[in-house]
Symmetry: C2
């Protein structure tokens, strides 16, 4: 007997559940639970109770609390003794309410047994429907309802479901077919019919018998005829399903703690398949896709809920708004009374929950029953529209509206996306390096990308990794796909800056530049073939897929203005050009938090001068090259100051290792080898001389490249170390900044430079560079007879700088936390290399999330806190900000708000996200 | 008048020197100063005073304090008003003592004016001798002394010295000849003579006249006839010389603060050149080279001190111990009375100072005068012998003896060194990567090193950088020279492990493997040419230089035993093989603090299996390769356990990125290209198939190498990340450790494994690996029915781990601070790449020292402290140690003692250094 599983004396009964209410009933006249008891009753149970309390018709039932689930697992899978009595009491309550009796063939009450966790885990756990039938009851039901087929089909469905979920007859290997379906197929074959609907009552009876036999034969379990044994078996099975593999995996992926447990909802069965006066459906109180304030849903006539899910028949719209075909008959038309009732319930639920609801309903012989309500999932656009319209309608206030939007979601609104209706064949997944969707023909070289684009083709640039020389091609391409590199590889950073779709570090693709193709799994993709990239998810698809352009409605602006009213941190942008700066201003940036001068160095018109500077043998040679770069830098800064007129512009002095500006080491080597090989086969003296001269030139460059190559460039000669080794470099940049600022001022533009020294370990490096900058600034301002107010500050991006922040704050006018590098050094983790093991680290729970996307608060965050406290204590006037990638991550922004930063800075496209997140940090 | 320089009202007179004693006299009956007033009187002045106090004959004089020097520089190069009176008083004192009068032609007193800083800065500052002569006094002296030549020669020397030092007539450019020497040369040419000695009194008189003319003509300064003006000029000049270029450079190099300033010593002149009853000399109270307890020194008859320095005549030994030739006449024989007096003074000084003294003396007409005493510089061997013998003689106690030895010095005793008498031509300087001296013929390939060595040649292996494949050749070579890589590059680490001389990162040399030569400056060194390396200094010399073997005397052991009695920290070693472990035991290591298993992986007999493991497509393939490595690892560990019988052995699981074990990317490419070229010329089908198959294999390896290449391997897939990605790797290593331990136990060897998980960021990684290790350990011990006690701990080598030490200490049984990586990550500084800018950083004072040699206490040290405190607080039983390179650095060891570590660990050759440093940390 299954009830034996309720132990008389559980081994570890800690007394917690003794004399505790474990079962909560709900019925027409009210419920013992309510909506805010989700932790105890699960989301489904709490909302069923709430609907009862609102007087909405819900099939009566009861919920077994999540505490029982915890008890179950803490006590070697035993149920508490007292549960039995409470369940029996609750059952009596239902029987009384429905005027039927569980297990009574003359007037049987059938039940559904469903899971229901604190947070929805759709389809992960088990459900048993039609529980409470046995041979005798089935016979009797057929007579009572005058519907043989319904009775036996219900019984057949129950045995099948119970046999699978509770008694364990299911496919062993993934490739096995379902044992019950096999039996059904066999019966159809015997009968020479095609569809399940053609099975008659006799067939269904046979199937019940065959199912029971198969269960006993293959699992050794006898199908229980006792409805009470059925009930306890199902309750246990639902608790068990909390720990099945897919549920555990889902929890791990969605950050749901194992300790929460599930509740069990036992509820009267209602039938939408009792004839043409019956139906079942699901609906949203508003359009979940657009947010329009229209009731929106689908129904199936004469069907059970599972039929909607199974997709055997095509559901129809409940009303005119969702109608697809002229000939469809909506619920509104077919059952106007039930539809009216639904509309009232819709109104009641929205007014009550103050949010768009996702509901399930069944109409049994004309009577409407509500089976579920919960806050509905929605697209970003819908979320925005619903929130703003609810404020307009006075349902919620602005703060509540701000809370309703996931900042991350806004990203969808700022980039193109794939048409959700399009068919897609996924071939690989990389890192979602830069959001958006792109479709185009594959090219493997930046030059090709430019050429093809000029000819009017849309292309996707596919590279093993990108380098500064590819920038033109990247700009021309619709999207970029790389086989190597992380979220902050060259490709990723540049693409995000351009707002261009990019999937990076897609290690499954194997590229041959030589043959102009790449392999991925069994697919061979050649130059010119179409592929599509989703930069928001990192997915790569075969062929061309239609994209839809971003739509930014007036609601967006409205919401942003509310956010701006509330937030305390200001939001700046990371922008390296006038173009980016203007874009960021449109997105609401209040200044530049990080202007990376190195991106200017990569520009085509100056890379030669930059290389000349690097190749210079001495200071004089370097100075000569720097003199060529100076006017270009002045122009860059003027454009930026103009775009940011009146707003602060934080400019970081040159940061990357200089060898990044030189040609690739391996490509040089390969070219040299092939030139030398060529030389062997040459006879023409002139030709030989030509090749020899080229070899000599390359050898010289190669010597420099080899000489400058670093084992760990991230920890090498970069940041302020460059400026300390070559003060003339810092001086040139300072000169460009102040020349630009003075010239801008002459034109009435208010330039507010804030100069930032990168990669210091202590105040000594800052002071060294400060001297150079101050001296140059004074020279330029004296020359122009002008005064440009400016600040000099530093990045805090090394643990040492955070630890020694107190002494640094004495000299720095601002700190900007470079959380990218601070994460790299604190965790000893290279952004570009960690792609190989980070997913495994997250999967195993060693890291809660990718620390380059979400700030690691326990390690890196501690250093940020330390430095903030030390900085504020030492220098009351210090400005504190953050310019790492985390400036655009909502969770991290909340943290920065908590520790008291003055601003965050992020890429232009993430400015709105940061504005919202900064507002939420205040709520 | 020079006295005008004493300002009546100095601008910034802060009152500090008002009413302050600035001048301290010393004379036969005692002095106003004493030995412990070095800060005020400088080393020379304090010791002159002390000798007077001891009743030792010192020419009377006075010292102007260093405070006056500070005042001078703080007040725009003015001397304090009150100084004049104090100097005049002191001068009167000398006159009274000597019975002569300064500036009195009838009985003139001549003076020397010398610098004297707190710490000796030999030859860096200026000196004026024979001061107080003018035309009239010279004439009169000649008559009084009945020695025309001496009088005029003294005057000539004075005008020359004063003209240079005070009046500024000196060579302008380095290449100019000395203006005074030019005049002398001209005079000798006129007179047709060769040597200075042939100049007669008349010539000397002419020279004085010519000198004075030249000074006036070329500098505009008139040579002052007033002795008092001469004196003030000389005092000012000595103060000025504190800030001349060479003094400033010397201070920067030797860490002497600019603020210290110099004192000025004004002292009665005595003459060692008054005839054959006069002499001058320098001596050490014991042999400074060997430490033997013999008086040891040289003298010149009838000469002045500067003649000894000038090297015009060869000095002779003062006694039989230093006698070089039979015909030499020692001072002992020539002037037995003076010698006896010297012997008594020697005794007195040693008894007083309790240390070996370096003295200067002059004998004027039979009377002995002491001019200087100070603690003598000595070799490491001498330091050791002197300290131990002084303890034996009861002069000092053991603690004092321990303080007398610089731990760093011991290094000299543990490696061969160049014969100090050998001639050397230096051609380059690299990093002193592994100490010792080596001479041999240049080879450029590891294979050649082995071949040549087998043929009986001694070779130096010269490489751009070394790789694991070079180990055989490195072992065969006498020494290793690399053009690239830092103090912890592969070459450096392996060489130190082998105790082999290595100069690394010598960027001045340009190697062509193809032509088998390297260029450095104007030198072209070909294969087979001799060079010599000093791994202790990083110097590279041309040709072959004789080396001398290390001599470890019984004194060494004695001193070590005293150190062991006092120190509280234990000293372990970093050793990766049985051989190293045995060596370290001999040096007194009390266990292994770091056994790097990766060096075992590089061994020739297993690199193939290691590569097989890396190339494996799946877990099964990896396991197969690991099974091959297992028995070899067992053998490795058994040898180590045996050598460390009863002592703990800390074994770190595999740490480096796996691609380090794969062939070089470039070499692979080169081979591939040449194979493809070869293919073109082949006709034989079989041959073609063979080459094709080789190409396919190489392509596959190359693909893997490309795939595994990392941008920043230091921050990539390494450390525990390997074990987390491939648990079978950790399991194999754990299996090898416990198999070895059990088998050792069966043979009566007490194995004490401590397993160390590297590169964790939080406790999660440790726990993950602990599970694998514990499980494997139990399996092996169950199999052997044995119990091996062991610990599992972790490296703290990332800032994150230090910050989160509290939670880690709950799970770890020990912490070992990996200060190499902790320095790299805390400072964002790659050991292998920082060679390019670290020297500049140290020179500019941004770093106090190379942070990879001396622990950066303010940044890295803070993290160590944080983790130590958190660790001890959470886990009372936790063991704390350090296994970075800093474990062998005395300054760092002191720090580790202060923060309370239980042990330090260092390379075998540094164990004695660490033992001494750990003892000094207690003193």
């Amino acid at each position: 007997m299954a009830t034996d599983t309720i132990e008389k004396k559980p081994k570890n009964l800690d007394g917690k559940l003794k004399n505790t209410k474990m079962v909560y009933t709900f019925k027409a006249k009210g419920a013992e639970g309510k909506a805010d008891m989700k932790n105890l009753l699960g989301g489904k149970g709490a909302n069923l109770a709430e609907m009862c309390n609102l007087g909405i018709p819900v099939p009566p039932g009861f919920t077994i609390s999540t505490d029982v689930c915890s008890y179950y697992y803490e006590n070697n899978n035993k149920l508490p003794e007292e549960l039995k009595e409470q369940v029996l009491d609750a059952l009596k309550n239902i029987e009384k309410e429905m005027g039927r009796k569980f297990g009574d063939p003359k007037n049987p009450l059938l039940l559904s047994v469903r899971s229901g966790a604190r947070r929805s885990m759709p389809g992960m756990m088990d459900t048993v429907l039609n529980l409470g039938i046995n041979d005798e009851i089935a016979e009797s039901m057929a007579k009572l309802n005058k519907n043989n087929r319904l009775a036996w089909d219900s019984y057949r469905r129950f045995v099948q479901m119970y046999g699978d979920v509770v008694l364990g007859l299911r496919p062993v290997a993934r490739t096995d077919s379902d044992p019950f379906e096999e039996i059904i197929e066999h019966k159809k074959y015997q009968r020479g019919i095609q569809s399940d609907i053609e099975l008659n009552t006799s067939d269904l009876k046979d199937l019940v018998t065959d199912f029971k036999k198969a269960i006993q034969l293959r699992t050794g379990n006898v199908f229980p005829q006792d409805p009470m044994e059925q009930l306890w078996g199902a309750i246990r099975a639902v608790f068990e399903s909390w720990n099945n593999d897919r549920a555990k995996k889902y929890r791990a992926l969605n950050g749901i703690p194992d300790e929460w447990g599930t509740a069990v909802n036992v509820q009267t069965m209602v039938y939408g398949n009792m004839g043409n006066d019956s139906a079942t459906g699901v609906a949203f109180t508003r359009n979940p896709s657009t947010g329009e304030n229209h009731f929106y849903g689908e129904y199936l006539l004469n069907a059970q809920g599972e039929d909607v899910v199974a997709g055997v028949r095509t559901p129809q719209s409940i009303n005119r708004f969702g109608k697809k075909n002229e000939q469809d008959v909506t619920l509104e038309v077919r059952m106007p009374e039930a539809y009216d009732q639904l509309m009232q319930i819709r109104e009641k639920l929205e007014q009550h929950y103050k949010d768009m609801q996702d509901i399930e309903f069944t109409i049994e012989k004309g009577k409407l029953w509500m089976l579920q309500t919960r806050n509905g999932k929605r697209t970003a656009a819908a979320a925005l529209r619903i929130a703003v319209e609810m404020v307009d309608d006075g349902m919620i206030d602005e703060k509540e509206a701000l809370k309703r939007i996931q900042p991350e979601q806004l990203d969808q609104l700022l980039h193109p996306s794939f048409d959700p209706k399009a068919q897609k064949e996924q071939i690989a997944t990389g890192l979602p390096a830069s959001p958006g969707a792109a479709t185009g023909r594959v090219v493997f070289h930046a030059d090709d990308a430019e050429e093809w684009t000029e000819k009017g083709e849309k292309v996707i640039l596919v590279r093993i990794e990108t380098s500064p020389e590819d920038i033109g091609g990247m700009n021309a391409a619709q999207g970029i796909l790389t086989a190597r590199g992380g979220m902050t590889s060259h490709a990723a950073v540049v693409a995000r800056g351009m707002g261009k779709c990019c999937v990076a570090g897609c290690s499954a693709i194997h590229i041959s530049y030589h043959d102009k193709l790449f392999k991925v799994g069994d697919h061979l993709i050649k130059e010119g073939d179409y592929i599509s990239l989703d930069g928001t998810t990192g997915e790569v698809y075969l062929g061309s897929i239609a994209t839809i352009a971003p739509q930014i409605s007036g609601n967006f602006k409205k919401l942003m203005s509310w956010a701006d009213k509330i937030r305390k941190m200001s939001v700046r942008t990371n922008a390296d050009s006038g173009k980016d700066a203007r874009l960021a201003r449109e997105f609401g940036a209040e200044g530049i938090g990080l202007c990376r001068t190195e991106h200017m160095f990569f520009e085509e018109d100056r890379i030669d001068a930059v290389r000349e500077m690097i190749m210079a043998e001495d200071k004089a040679g370097r100075q000569e090259a720097l003199d060529k770069i100076l006017p270009m830098q002045i122009k860059d800064f003027m454009e930026i100051f103009e775009a940011m007129d009146g707003y602060p512009v934080t400019i970081r002095s040159l940061d990357p290792p200089l060898h990044e500006f030189l040609p690739n080491r391996h490509e040089l080597f390969e070219e040299l080898v092939s030139l030398k090989m060529k030389l062997k086969n040459l006879n023409d003296l002139k030709e030989i001389d030509k090749v020899l001269s080229r070899i000599r030139k390359l050898e010289k460059i190669r010597e420099k490249v080899e000489n400058m190559t670093e084992f760990n460039p991230m920890l090498g000669l970069r940041g302020c170390r460059l400026g300390i080794m070559y003060p003339e470099l810092t001086a040139m940049q300072a000169r460009a900044i102040f020349e630009a600022a003075c010239q801008c001022k002459r034109h009435g533009i208010d330039a507010k430079p804030e100069i930032m020294v990168p990669l210091i370990t202590s105040v000594a490096e800052l002071d060294n560079q400060k001297d150079v900058i101050r001296k140059t600034a004074q020279e330029v301002m004296d020359k122009h007879v002008m005064d440009v107010p400016y600040l000099i500050g530093t990045m805090i991006e090394l643990p040492s700088a955070a630890i020694r922040a107190r002494e640094i704050a004495k000299s720095a006018e601002f700190f900007s936390f470079g959380t990218n590098d601070l994460t790299q050094t604190t965790l000893g983790l290279s952004r570009d290399d960690s792609g190989k093991f980070l997913p495994e680290y997250v999967k195993k729970g060693i890291f809660e999330a990718d620390p380059f996307q979400v700030l690691d608060q326990k390690g890196v965050g501690e250093l940020v806190k330390t430095a903030v406290e030390a900085g504020r204590k030492t220098n009351k006037k210090i400005k504190l900000g953050i310019c790492g990638e985390h400036g655009g991550d909502p969770k991290s922004v909340t943290f920065f708000g908590e520790v008291g930063l003055d601003y965050v800075s992020c890429s232009p496209y993430r400015v709105p996200i940061a504005r919202l997140a900064a507002a939420q940090a205040q709520l």
